[in-house]
Amino acid sequence: MNFRNLAKRSGYPTALLLFLSACIAPAAMPQTATPAQSEVAEAAYPMTIADDYGDVTIPARPERIITIGEEINETLVSLGVHPVGFGSSRVERGGAKELGIPIGSDYLDAGIAGSPIFVGGDSPSLEAVVALQPDLIIYPNYDEATYKALAQIAPTLGLAPQGRGAWQRILGKLGQVLGLEEKAAEVIADYDARVAELREQLAPVLVEHPNVTLLYLPGADNTMVFDERFAFGGMVDDLGFNLVIPDGVTIDDSGFAQISVESLAGLESDAILTIQFAEGALVDFPVEPIMASLDIPVLRTVIEARRPASGPYTERYYLENFATLLQDEFGAAAE
């Protein structure tokens, strides 16, 4: 490694970090736990793969992976691959330690998540990252400067975890990079099969009650509506329901819009699905009396602040939650 050139291009602090990390014996480092990969053809490397910022060359099969963000971490572990390091602002701010379970696995079974070393938030500690001597970093495309800094430490894939179908896309890339395309396809097929199963169960409900409005209620004066382009809306759409947006509301490519609760007047929908942080009716939330006056059933989903917005486990969790709520509300009548 040419430290002088690196220092010129990226600054001396990063070069110094890399120099120091090179002095640490790699044998002392934990390895990324992966399933049997004998089938992986070493000849496939170096591999060039496109991410959100351009092309990334991966010189050899990655064995020491760091993930940043729950969505990406969850997608990686669904392949049976455990990262050596994990960064998350949700965990950094909320603290998984208080739950008494391994860092990074507060929303996953510990056996699935493994016990990666915590490297900080969405802009992780570069020192912690360097110390783990990663050979691949997977980063959500939150900030280009952070991406560039990480890319100087190890090959870094910048992949957007937002929006419908994001985890499937990430999974496809990771399967390709790790030589686990079949496993990736299997995870996606399992998810799709579960979607098809739930959709079939809900078929009688869909005949009579096909329209659902999906509201996100994070605060008393903050009401949002989702359409099918947002991950949550995509799940409801996957179940076969139409997502009804209040009259006059327009939603851009992000898949969500902030609305005045007044715009719910005249809403014609079979159900309102809410995503909220607390159980039951929300005291003092102005949306409550409006929803109560609409004569539309309100079905409530409580979310954990640290739970990711998407991912194979997360989406399955919410998908089943939505399906249960809709089945419980309309199922008996439909049968």
């Binding site: 602002s89 949700r90 950094e92 701010r93 909320g94 994070p218 605060g219 008393a220 004066d221 903050n222 209040p246 009259d247 006059g248 509301v249 819009a257 902030q258 609305i259 005045s260 609760v261 007044e262 715009s263 719910l264 007047a265 005249g266 942080f277 607390a278 929300l282 005291v283 003092d284 939330f285 102005p286 009396p289 409006i290 109560a292 006056s293 609409l294 004569d295 602040a305």
Partner: protein, 347 residues
């Protein structure tokens, strides 16, 4: 005795005419406020016909969504905006008179920063989410900060002076704002829950909350109006006020209490809203002069009208979403304030 010792008959006549003009202007301000409140009840994201608005007030039907919107959203919202606008303008006027600082507003004493920190910390530690609990913590934060600023500003010789209070307030504001920012940086959910409250919003306040806070506002208004003559004298300087027989320390203390009550109740009900306490007293002074017996009632009425109007505009221009009133006061109040400053500089 020279004629210079007495006001001429012409000056007395002019003063009487000014008094009549100023007194006559107040009913117009009341009418303006009523029009703004009616507009606030009539206009919003939902298009509701005037007859439905009337029916919602006179024959409320809880199963009619439009009636619910009028009764549970728009009426409390209009009253909230009126009370908060009036209180911010009055407390800003008192602050400017008390500190003899033309840039003074309720934020100067750290009241808003203290309330904001208390609410953000309460959301983080106790997971509160209701507006009434926000209000409770905001009052506690505002009161605690005011006391801390007063104690800091009273240290040293001469006790509390406008200069020392201003410095203490600025230091406290900077420190508390940093703490608030740190909490928000490290807790995504807290930011999500309070971000609208932090910008300043009158949406979503129910009538119970408005009625609970109304006594604080009225005590503040009565106290400030009762002190108007003394604040006018105090604005000329402590020595002048003392020379005219005023108990300067008592007047300052009572004025500070009025400011804390008004600004604390405002920030509790609507969060920190800028520019009203700064711009309205300046605009009023432009028309009525330096007498606080006129500045205060005009500030109360025009501050109320201004905030209600800002809220209506914010709801109408961004339909079916809305711009929070804190953003609107900055968008409207900022240019108005610059225009006022330019006008004064040119003079």
């Amino acid at each position: 005795m020279t004629t210079a010792s007495f006001p001429s008959s012409r000056r007395v006549h002019t003063a009487h005419r000014s008094w009549a003009l100023l007194a006559g202007g107040l009913p117009f301000c009341v009418v303006l406020l009523v029009i703004c409140i009616l507009a606030s009840i009539a206009f919003g994201a939902a298009d509701i016909k005037p007859e439905t608005v009337w029916a919602a007030i006179t024959a409320f039907d809880a199963t009619d969504t439009n009636h619910v919107i009028i009764q549970t959203l728009r009426m409390p919202r209009a009253l909230t905006a009126a009370l908060v606008g009036a209180a911010l303008a009055a407390s800003g006027a008192i602050m400017q008179g008390l500190t003899r600082n033309p840039l003074a507003d309720p934020g100067l004493l750290g009241i808003e920063a203290g309330a904001a920190l208390a609410v953000v910390a309460a959301v983080l530690l106790f997971h509160i989410s209701s507006m009434s609990t926000y209000a409770l913590f905001a009052v506690v934060g505002a009161a605690a900060t005011s006391i801390a600023v007063y104690i800091l500003g009273s240290i040293g010789r001469g006790g509390s002076t406008p200069f020392k209070l201003t410095i203490a307030g600025a230091a406290m504001t900077a420190m508390l704002s940093s703490f608030t920012t740190a909490i928000l940086l490290f807790n995504e959910r807290t930011l999500e829950e309070v971000r609208f409250w932090l910008v300043g919003s009158v949406a979503g306040r129910d009538m119970t909350l408005v009625l609970q806070s109304a006594p604080f506002f009225f005590v503040g208004f009565i106290l400030s109006l009762a002190l108007a003559r003394q604040i006018t004298t105090l604005a000329l300087g402590d020595d002048v006020a003392a020379g005219l027989g005023q108990n300067v320390a008592l007047i300052k203390s009572l004025s500070a209490v009025a400011t804390v009550v008004l600004a604390g109740a405002s920030v509790a009900l609507a969060g920190p809203i800028g520019f009203v306490g700064l711009v309205i007293p300046h605009a009023v002074r432009f028309f009525v002069g330096v007498d606080y017996r006129w500045i205060l009632p005009y500030s109360i009425l025009l501050g109320a009208s201004f905030l209600v109007a800002c809220d209506v505009i914010g709801r109408v221009i961004a339909r079916p979403s809305e711009l929070t009133v804190g953003v609107m006061t900055a968008l409207i109040g900022g240019p108005v304030f610059i225009a006022l400053v330019l006008w004064k500089v040119k003079r």
